[in-house]
């Protein structure tokens, strides 16, 4: 029978508080994981664009960070999918998006664009590291007694060669051309991957805050910003770890030292590289930040000036309910502060990393203010919904769509990167490589 003794909590009820006139079925259905989703895809797209700056546009100064950004972008890829799966009510049916795509929906493109993008990044990494892979196979095969792990590595590398061991100059030249082509192809696909994430929101005509054609462009710009910022922060941190490891001889953290011998890694040299790469990248960060802020402000100004029917409630949300989140946290801490830090003369690695951390936070708040802010008001334009992030999970749903689920998503790319870095060393300096 339909009647049940216990109160039945419907999806969204656990974290939504309704105020004034809100329709019975309205809840914050898209919660923290949908904040994480554009955030993570943004990081993927941004990291890739950064690597392409070197590969396609020949910005030579970004050579070292570009290779790292490429590998990190690949490590972030599976994580862009994770929030969606954690959010779905029927995660086991996630493959339906590939099986019966309904292309009038922005989400349906996800499966195809995502796979295309994964293939491009994967292929690009293959071409960049092909020589390394072949070298590794040769080196490991030459070893007399292989330990268990080396045996596994050899197996992986053999598979990764795809049956090609040609490392003649002509072959490497072909690789180089292929990398350039793929990086060029990758930029529009990366922008598409993230632009359509913006389109997912921008095309919802039922949502007054989301519906704007600027949304995809805003998303792409903030994606590049956050991707570059994450690369700066993580590059700075990983280089610190490498310097420490190089000084103390912890070679299990240095895959390139394993491959080329310990002389390949020198702490003093690393410091020079780190300083150069981080400060260079910071300049590009500033350029994209300016673009992103301009567009976001344009959006708010335009809404206020045209003041259509929904503006009354949007004004309440933007200037009252979410004032702190938007103007203090997003624009103040996330934009103005890092701007000032980056523009002060004599930029150091630490300061750039600190500024990038603020930028990362700012872009996260921007995603939050869009996703949660868009659901902060009722379709009636006469009521509000307050979102309370579940911190301590008490069931699967509050775990998946709570703080714990979000932390899980944030932690995963670093775990993946650790293993990926073992196979294709992201920090390898190789003058012959691309």
């Amino acid at each position: 029978m339909v009647e049940q003794a216990a109160q039945m909590i419907v999806h969204g009820e656990a974290w939504t508080i309704k105020d004034l006139f809100v329709l019975p079925n309205e809840y914050v259905y898209w919660s923290i994981q949908i904040v994480m989703y554009p955030y993570m895809t943004g990081l993927v797209a941004g990291a890739f664009v950064l690597s392409s700056l070197y590969h396609v546009f020949g910005v030579d100064r970004l050579r070292e960070i570009a290779r790292y950004a490429l590998v990190f972008s690949f490590a972030l890829l599976p994580v862009a999918m994770m929030p969606l799966l954690l959010h779905l009510q029927q995660p086991l049916r996630g493959t339906h998006v590939l099986m019966t795509p309904h292309f009038t929906s922005a989400i349906s493109a996800f499966g195809i664009v995502f796979m295309t993008y994964a293939c491009i990044v994967g292929a690009e990494i293959w071409f960049v590291y092909r020589k390394f892979i072949v070298d590794s196979v040769v080196r490991l095969e030459a070893q007399q007694a292989r330990k268990g792990l080396d045996g596994l590595l050899l197996l992986i590398y053999r598979g990764l060669t795809l049956g090609v061991r040609d490392v003649s100059p002509e072959a490497l030249d072909s690789d180089h051309k292929a990398v350039r082509f793929l990086a060029g192809l990758g930029i529009p696909v990366a922008c598409f991957l993230h632009g359509y994430a913006g389109f997912i929101f921008g095309s919802v005509k039922a949502n007054a805050l989301w519906m704007t054609p600027l949304m995809p462009v805003i998303f792409i710009c903030s994606a590049v910003v956050s991707g570059i910022a994450l690369c700066i922060v993580s590059y700075a941190i990983f280089m610190e770890i490498r310097k420490w490891a190089a000084r103390h001889g912890k070679h299990w953290l240095l895959p390139d030292a394993l491959a080329h011998g310990k002389h390949a890694v020198d702490a003093e040299h690393l410091r020079g590289v780190q300083q150069h790469e981080v400060t260079m990248t910071a300049r590009y960060l500033l350029i994209f930040m300016t673009l992103a802020i301009t567009l976001e402000l344009l959006d708010i100004i335009f809404r206020g000036y045209t003041a259509v029917k929904s503006w009354d409630i949007l004004r309440d949300v933007i200037y009252e309910h979410d004032f702190t989140k938007i103007f203090i946290l997003q624009y103040g801490v996330g934009n103005l502060l890092p701007f000032a830090i980056l523009l002060l003369p004599g930029l150091t690695v630490r300061r750039a990393a600190l500024a990038s951390l603020f930028v990362l936070f700012g872009v996260f708040m921007m995603r939050w203010n869009v996703v949660i802010g868009g659901q902060a008001f009722s379709l009636t334009f006469d009521g509000f919904m307050h979102y309370h992030l579940p911190v301590i999970p008490h069931d699967l749903e509050t775990f998946k769509e709570g703080l714990m689920g979000a932390l899980l998503v944030i932690a995963t790319p670093f775990v993946i990167f650790y293993f990926l870095n073992m196979i294709v060393p992201a920090f390898m300096e190789d003058k012959d490589a691309h």
């Binding site: 009647e3 419907v10 049916r93 990758g186 529009p188 379709l379 334009f381 009521g383």
Partner: protein
Amino acid sequence: MRRRDFLRTAAVFVSGASVSLSALEFLDPGKVLAAHPQLRWAFLVDTHKCVGCGFCVKACKIENDIPLDANVTRTWVERYVIKKNGETVMDCPKGALDGYTSKLLDQGKSGKVLVPDKEVAQAFFVPKLCNHCELPACVQVCPVGATYQTADGAVLVDRQWCIGCGYCIMGCPYGVRFFHPVERVADKCTFCYHRISKGGNTACAQACPFGARRIGNLRDPDDPVAKTVLNQRVGVLRDEYGTKPHVFYLGLNKEVR
């Protein structure tokens, strides 16, 4: 960067962009108009007749296996109290599952308010349900083809195919969709498709003692609902979204959201 390099770079960029665009495919919307000519379900709500008893809500929940105590519902009844100073107070406690039995208006977190009788200019009830739009925004945004419109106009959800992404819930301008707490898929009013396609009445319309709710066939000139829609001044909700809703209202006014 030299000019030739730039041109080559640009060419690579553009070719990449065109490849990724070809992944999108839009089909001819002309097909949309080739619907079944004999039958088009539509609904008529007479707000003058509604007394806010909520029998329709209860009947709908029982008929369609929506748990009574779950705070979601396929249909609901709103109360509008318009004061003499022009201010409007609205509420919809539990979707009016238990009807309106108190003068206190439920304002959620802001508590309950009482509008004294002498301040009331007019007050009335508005039943709501899925509009089974001609151009349903919810169907357009479903990424997997789990929600769709039948030839006779009903918008349904395939419970075996829905992935539960919630995009349709976000896409609906009327807030009629929700996640079914047991099935864990998107759920919505079906116009009681199982009843009307066997010649029956919808559970809500049948439970209404006052004839405030009626279902009918727009394509049948003798159908009472079709006649009313044609001959009287009926309104629809939120037509600015361009969805062409097919729940028609008698006695709608501008305060109704």
